[in-house]
Symmetry: C2
Subunit: 162 residues, 2 copies
């Protein structure tokens, strides 16, 4: 796929996330794209991402829901304004809350498809509904509440840590 993923537009200081940052060499580096009104991300868990042998552990599935959700929230905010994702002023989202329902065990060893849909936009809050498909079964459903934070707050947080 030559199309740029949502995460490829993140500025460097937002690109170290273990779940989705293209600059985090140890991380998952997920890539999310629009597919019509839904967003989609494909991810192949590593053989050691085990819950019980043969199945994917819940923490990874939660991470996929989390990072694909904030990515979709950011992409949706830019799209609503008809802008590309690296245009000014910047739009940044952080996760306020995360909900994950494990409907059935997710088999390990096959690529997973994470899908998302914008369910609600309310001021700075965006709710993304998501689901994970393994083979042809939906094994996980989840929801991310992402909150838009001013770039100044992001810079303040980074500054506090220097």
């Amino acid at each position: 796929m030559t199309q740029k993923a949502f995460q490829d537009f993140y500025p460097d200081h937002m690109a170290y996330c273990y779940g989705c940052g293209r600059l985090n060499e140890q991380g998952h580096q997920i890539k999310s794209y629009w597919d019509g009104e839904e967003s989609v991300c494909h991810f192949q868990p590593k053989p050691y991402h085990i819950a019980i042998p043969g199945y994917v552990y819940g923490g990874l599935l939660a991470s996929l829901i989390d990072c694909h959700g904030t990515g979709t929230a950011a992409a949706a905010a830019y799209r609503a304004e008809g802008r590309v994702m690296d245009s000014e002023p910047p739009v940044r989202f952080l996760t306020a809350s995360l909900q994950v329902h494990y409907l059935k065990p997710t088999p390990l060893g096959i690529p997973l498809e994470v899908r998302g849909k914008v369910r609600e936009v309310k001021g700075r809050k965006v709710v993304i509904e998501e689901w994970i498909v393994a083979g042809d079964e939906v094994t996980v459903r989840g929801e991310v509440v992402a909150v838009q934070v001013p770039e100044e707050l992001v810079q303040e947080l980074l500054q506090d840590k220097k």
Copy 2:
């Protein structure tokens, strides 16, 4: 600490979880213990577990809530019957759902304390309330709904994957 953790009692086939399995060499290998009526787990995130630089990524925090929650659910079930955790018949829990509220950014570089409390036991369902403390601040609150599954179902799942 020479006391055995909840996870040290898991039988081998339940001990490969990336979050809490003592036999998963790449995993987090969390260790949970009773501390009075609460359960507690200490965990030091790795330098690459980044959200934005200086802060812990949400997926790891969700994993800690998940695995510490199912561990606490299992320990609580054994304790309710006055049994040690490797006694027969076995009691196994899987996560049915997970909820995580990120109250404020969690600083990276210091050990985290994950605490849990049994909030509800309803048939095979146990609800564990949890929170994560970084320094002296609660940065995350969460809840795990764990469901007891018969050992035969666990064996069936393992069998399906061979």
